[in-house]
Amino acid sequence: MTNDSPGIAAPKGKRWKRSRSVVLTYAPPALVVIATIGLWELLIHLLDVPTYLLAPPSLIAETIGERAPELWSHSGVTLRETLVGFAFAVGAGLAFGLFLHFSTIARRALYPLLIASQSIPTVVLAPVFVLLLGFGMWPKVAIVGLFCFFPVVVGTIDGLAGVDPEYIRMMLTLDASRFGIFRRVEFPSALPQIFTGTRVGATYAAIGAVFGEWAGSEAGLGWQMIQAKGRLDTALVFADIVFITAMALSLFGLVSLVERLTIPWARRGGVMK
């Protein structure tokens, strides 16, 4: 050990490099957002756009501040619909994906129909669900569920089908049963794709609930939006949009966090393929 200074300098350099890369990752999009908001504000004032046509960001912020209790309580309604629907979709999607994986006959019969069913715009079913299930939470849960179900099923089936057959051969010579192979190889290696499907579902979930509320409801951010629109309260419409977006992003972030904690190995380039 003649020269230990690199040993001390290296971590410092690394840390600096890391914080630099964090800045390089987040700063550009953040700047674009800030610039867009600034430009929006500026243009409205310069062009003298009436606020009932397009509300400036300052007014939206003011509205959020003034009507926070109302916004939060409607958020609660929408959030519950979103989470319940999402939970159903993940549970049912996983179960159905596993069922199709294990039953060749069911897969042959149902998988093409499942894919084909995606050409039906789920949104148009919202009024049907309202007619069937009333104005409460359940028609929204049904819409959210339908929105999120498909990506979870597809992620599960594709993930399980994509397992390298060499692993299965190896496991067979190591005395693994069918279930042992599923539990120790197939399911864990399908998890990254299952999470990808779930993340896609998470981005749809809140929008699904809002669609459901538009079709008929008595509360929720979607309901509040419709009411605000009728009164030409454009700032409140935007405030609702801000809340809906925040909700979608939070759910996405939550799923990503769970993913990171559950399958840390998938990030280290250890994914099997």
Partner: protein, 264 residues
């Protein structure tokens, strides 16, 4: 958890009997004849090498012996067992790629065969741990595969195969993906490990030097259809250092015979 019967029939069979007998094996994939007229026997604790050009059906033959596929014609008998499932219960296969599961530590990867047989996680790991110590992998137990070098990963993969507690090890080009220096180290390591844990080994490779160094007997195969063109007795004295063995006249002579059989 279902577990297969795992009795090792080592004591039931006299030591002189062949562990593996292959008679008139032929296998086709569609119109392609992958293997034809394969006949040989492997004695208990023999190390048999199979060398041949790519596409000569080496891997197909290993799969057939392992019981992963049933040949179209002929019989493969392992200690009286003939059916594919019975063979599967008696062989452990080590493939070219280490196929370590990236979400399991080295130790948990090595212990997986025990878990497959219904041993609890903790017990399986406790039983695998002494092997890490014995085979120069101490301190690496808790590493993830992504934190191990290629040679280390291959060692863990070999321990996993050993932990299956099968008498027959089928090694399918296990070192093909390693650089030549790592590979030389691995060959010595493997010989050492097999001296401690004797097994009946079939070693498939496309490297003649490796085959000569690691086996007692070498089968040379031709491509399409895969046939045995030559059997070579390769028992080299392994008490000298590797560099002396590979530069000895006997080694050169055996290599010449093998290369001639390979038409190289």
């Amino acid at each position: 958890m279902t577990s297969r019967p795992t009795e090792t029939p080592t004591d039931a069979v006299p030591a002189t009997a062949s562990a593996i007998e292959i008679r008139g094996v032929r296998h086709d994939f569609g119109d392609v004849v992958a293997l034809a007229g394969i006949d040989f026997a492997v004695a208990r604790h023999e190390r048999l090498g199979i060398v041949g050009p790519s596409g000569c059906g080496k891997s197909t033959l290993l799969s057939a012996i392992a019981g992963l596929l049933e040949p179209v014609e002929g019989t493969i008998t392992i200690d009286e067992a003939r059916s594919a499932n019975e063979r599967l219960a008696r062989c452990a296969l080590m493939p070219q790629r280490d196929l370590l599961l990236p979400w399991r530590t080295a130790l948990a990867n090595a212990a997986i065969a025990l878990e497959n047989r219904g041993v609890s996680r903790r017990q399986a790991r406790d039983r695998a741990r002494p092997l890490f110590e014995r085979f120069g992998l101490a301190e690496f137990e808790e590493r993830m595969p992504s934190q191990l070098s290629g040679g280390m990963r291959q060692r863990v993969a070999f321990l996993r195969t050993l932990m299956a507690e099968k008498d027959i090890l089928l090694l399918d080009e296990p070192f093909a993906a390693l650089d030549s220096i790592t590979r030389a180290g691995m060959q010595e390591w493997l010989l050492g490990a097999l001296a401690q844990e004797p097994r009946t080994v079939i070693f498939v490779t496309h490297d003649v030097d490796e085959a000569l160094l690691l086996t007692n007997r070498l089968i040379v195969m031709s491509a399409r259809p895969g046939r045995i063109v030559r059997t070579i007795q390769t028992d080299l004295r392994r008490d000298a250092p590797r560099r002396e063995v590979v530069t000895s006249p006997e080694f050169a002579a055996l290599k010449e015979i093998a290369l001639e059989a390979l038409e190289l």
